[in-house]
């Protein structure tokens, strides 16, 4: 393995979980689709790796590629979809058990699916814990505007998951 291959492998190991989570959020929890999307993203990362300037944050760089690739691979077919819809998920009665956590996650996927494309990208980055200025940089919306938008989407999502 040469230097670039090694660097690529390290990148893959370090960033795969966050890329995969983002993709799962985009395809409402469909693992196969998310894996395909993740692969597509890592191919783009490979193609652009030599252009990466080390003064910028590698995470932000990868998230940029990820949200743009997910947008360009937008799926329009709903037929035979293995993704989760809100009606498929039972209500959460007790909290903190494993089953309830799984249900809560499934509801979260279903609620994210209901958001607009841009709001979906924003909330996925928020869930990943990115600071607002980085989200603003990745999405290309001014910091003030993104702050109010995040607040609104967070409320919307929390209410949706709680079935309010």
């Amino acid at each position: 393995m040469n230097k670039i291959d090694n660097r690529y492998k390290q990148l893959y190991k370090a960033h795969y979980p966050k890329v995969m989570r983002l993709c799962l959020g985009y395809v409402a929890g469909d693992e196969d689709l998310a894996k395909d999307l993740s692969q597509e993203i890592f191919i783009k990362i490979w193609e652009n790796l030599e252009n990466f300037r080390s003064e910028s944050n590698i995470s932000t760089w990868i998230y940029r590629i990820s949200v743009n690739t997910c947008l360009s691979k937008l799926r329009t077919k709903k037929k035979n979809s293995r993704t989760i819809g809100l009606v498929d998920v039972p209500d959460i009665i007790e909290e903190h058990s494993n089953a309830d956590r799984e249900n809560q996650l499934a509801r979260l996927y279903a609620c994210i699916k209901m958001l607009s494309e841009t709001n979906r990208a924003i909330i996925l980055l928020v869930l990943e814990g990115l600071p607002q200025h980085e989200i603003s940089d990745i999405i290309g919306i001014k910091h003030d505007a993104i702050r109010t938008r995040i607040h609104r989407i967070k409320n919307q999502l929390t209410k949706c998951v709680s079935n309010e």
Partner: protein, 185 residues
């Protein structure tokens, strides 16, 4: 009620998303396949063009204007369609995934808006030219082929035309839906 921090914690603690050696090897295979695919499509395209040009010169040897016209319409329309698709594919692949999402979104909207010209201007023109070429050749087919083979050519061509029309219509509907969703935000 769930608070957002709780959702965030569940989000980050999702299972089954750890990277594996097999996953990385699959990725390397996919990278190699992309390079091979590009090489193979270039070779196929070059061979097709050489065969078509060779065939065209072979046919023009008969000095039959009707054949030349019919064949030129059919081959020309196919070539234009192929070139348009290759141009579109390259444009899509060359889009800058490193720009911010708003700029990338505008680039995508531009791409799908350009595709409208392909779908609603070029595609009908190409289909019309192809069918015209076929209709020009029909009297020659009738004169030189047996009735059975002539009927077979007509029926199979109509079926092929219907099949391609459905395929292209589906592609157009899908792309227009995509454009609509991207424009919605």
């Amino acid at each position: 009620m769930n608070n957002f921090e709780e959702l965030q914690s569940d989000w980050k603690n999702q299972s089954k998303i750890e990277p594996t050696e097999q996953g990385f090897q699959n990725l390397l295979t996919a990278l190699r396949e992309i390079k091979n695919k590009q090489r193979v499509s270039n070779v196929i395209l070059s061979i097709t063009v050489i065969i078509l040009i060779g065939f065209f010169f072979y046919i023009s040897g008969y000095n039959n204007q009707q054949v030349i016209l019919g064949i030129s319409f059919m081959i020309g329309s196919l070539l234009v369609r192929m070139l348009l698709e290759i141009w579109s594919m390259r444009k899509l692949n060359k889009m800058n995934t490193l720009s911010n999402r708003a700029d990338f979104r505008n680039e995508l909207i531009g791409y799908y808006t350009d595709r409208k010209f392909v779908h609603f201007l070029w595609t009908p023109l190409i289909l019309l030219t192809y069918v015209s070429g076929f209709l020009i050749l029909l009297p020659l087919f009738k004169a030189t082929l047996s009735t059975g083979f002539y009927t077979y050519i007509i029926v199979s061509s109509i079926m092929l035309l219907i099949f391609f029309s459905i395929f292209i219509t589906k592609q157009i509907i899908q792309e227009m839906k995509k454009l609509e969703r991207i424009q919605q935000g």
